[in-house]
Amino acid sequence: MYGGGNIFEATKFDDLATEDPVKLAEFEARIARGEKIEPNDWMPELYRKQLIRMIEQHAHSEIIGALPEGTWITRAPGFRRKMAQMAKVQDEVGHGQLLYSAAETLGKSREAMLTDLINGKSKYSNVFNYPAVTWADSNIISWLIDAGAIVNQMANAKGSYGPYCRALDRICAEEAFHLKYGHDAVVHMATGSPKQREMIQAALNRWWPPIMTFFGPSDKMSTHTETLVRWKVKMATNDECRQQFLDMYVPKIWELGLTVPDPKLHKNADGVWEYTEPDWVEFKEVINGNGPCNKERLAVRRTAEEKGAWVRRALLAPKKEAKYIKPLA
């Protein structure tokens, strides 16, 4: 997953005041021509800052996103699901690894990013602050959250920063498998026993509100991102992504005989989906640390970092001299 709903800092009028206007113009011209910006190329500080922020958030979302589905690895029913669940979650951790490397090219170390994650200084996709209560929740995540992530990542892959785009190309290829896996698992539940159908509908009911917030606040309330759009950092607006997601997946959900828990949800004659506006007050609350699972997610990550610290220290240490080997008698 899970590059959805990036939270951008509002850009200020004087952000670019200190930049060399000639270099800035050349930089913008390159992006307008569709060229990629590479790590050693000149770039405005604001560009660097926002990209680190975005890629870092994306990387955190991958490794925190591994947790709700990860708790179901040991409980996945049957060999086929158990192996696929393992592989899927492993991919997400691998995405995190790729993305941390991409962000490192901009000058922030992985260790520093992980420290900021644990301190609550940098964010991750808000949906992972909700619990995966049953196996069915895990299936809904694999299908629909990954689907949302693909919408977002396909857009971002056309962005301007070379290392991020290349990482996203690889990630999107794997996400396509996640989507298939998630869809297949949901199909089995939705067409299975009454108990299975009940489980999957309940999971959809729980996850629909977070899913609707996945792409971030409505454009009406978003901060000004014109510069980021011009620089091809932000490739589509939150509402554009949300519309695309609804258009692609609501029919597929209905096809399975499942009910989307939003009585207002329908497609207008002009092709635009109407829906109940998500609760953006709750969204803010959760992002600021007060969701059902924020503390648990960060505590898990913190424990992993602390318990693993000796390994990282040891791998950085110079090799100890060989011990004396007793000659054979």
Binding site: F79, K307, R312, R313, K320
Partner: protein, 251 residues
């Protein structure tokens, strides 16, 4: 050929792999660094695949479907050694266990490629390469961490001392050991243990870790006969949590 002997061999191999695979997968999201998360997860997937391959041979011999065998038996019906069922503990313990187990596993696979029972030889030949990577990973990490900081060396040494009695349990003979040797199906636990000892000594000699004198250690036997620690049944209950909601359902 004695089918009971064959089944006994297959069960212990497959159960070891299933249970260790399950344990290794518990590292997903909790590793000391992302690279190790990924390594343990990838080995877990391989182990699960290996157990499935051996359960399939068992199915051909008349046992139940792999899913039924894996997800519905109780602890006393499992033939894995106790080493693999122990909790993951901290990374040093999981690494030491992985080192001790996979160094035996690669030799077991090697022997099985020469098995007179063709389905076993075929599977072993096909999957041996994956176990090679597991051993390579274990040996590399042990060599590196075992010659690094005092802290790392002390942790690994403690875990080695703790795991060793259980590791010797890998080689607990079944009542069919001689028969399997005579029929050319499997070359036997004793030969396996001798080679294993040589190999792990070779690796440990390149580190600051000391192998305790094996003559002073009482092996933890029983696993091959269905006797397990208190850790196995909860693992199995967790594994079956969803499956047992409806064992006849397609999940």
């Amino acid at each position: 050929m004695n089918t009971e002997a064959l089944k006994d061999l297959l069960y212990k191999i497959a159960d070891d792999q299933l249970i260790l695979g399950h344990r290794n997968s518990e590292w997903t999201g909790f590793g000391p660094m992302l690279e190790e998360d990924i390594a343990f997860s990838s080995m877990a997937q391989d182990k699960l695949g290996h157990s499935l391959a051996f359960y399939k041979i068992l199915h051909e011999l008349g046992e139940a479907e792999p899913d039924t065998v894996a997800f519905t038996r109780n602890a006393n019906q499992f033939h894995n050694c106790q080493l693999v069922e122990l909790p993951i503990g901290e990374y040093d313990f999981s690494l030491i266990r992985h080192f001790l187990f996979d160094n035996a596993e690669i030799l077991r696979f090697d022997m099985l490629t020469r098995s007179s029972y063709e389905p076993i030889a075929k599977v072993a030949t096909k999957l041996k390469g994956e176990v090679k990577y597991h051993v390579l990973h274990a040996n590399t990490m042990i060599k590196q961490l075992g010659s690094s900081t005092d802290e790392a060396i002390e942790r690994l040494q403690n875990s080695l001392n703790e795991a060793l009695p259980y590791a010797l349990g890998i080689f607990e003979k079944s009542k069919f050991d001689n028969e399997l040797i005579a029929e050319g199906i499997f070359e036997g636990e004793e030969k396996l243990q001798t080679q294993w000892l040589e190999n792990i000594k070779k690796v440990l000699s390149q580190t600051h870790l000391e192998l305790p004198d094996l003559n002073t250690i009482t092996p933890k036997f029983g696993g091959r006969y269905g006797e397990h620690t208190e850790h196995l049944q909860p693992l199995l209950d967790e594994m079956a949590e969803v499956f047992s909601i409806d064992p006849t359902a397609e999940w």
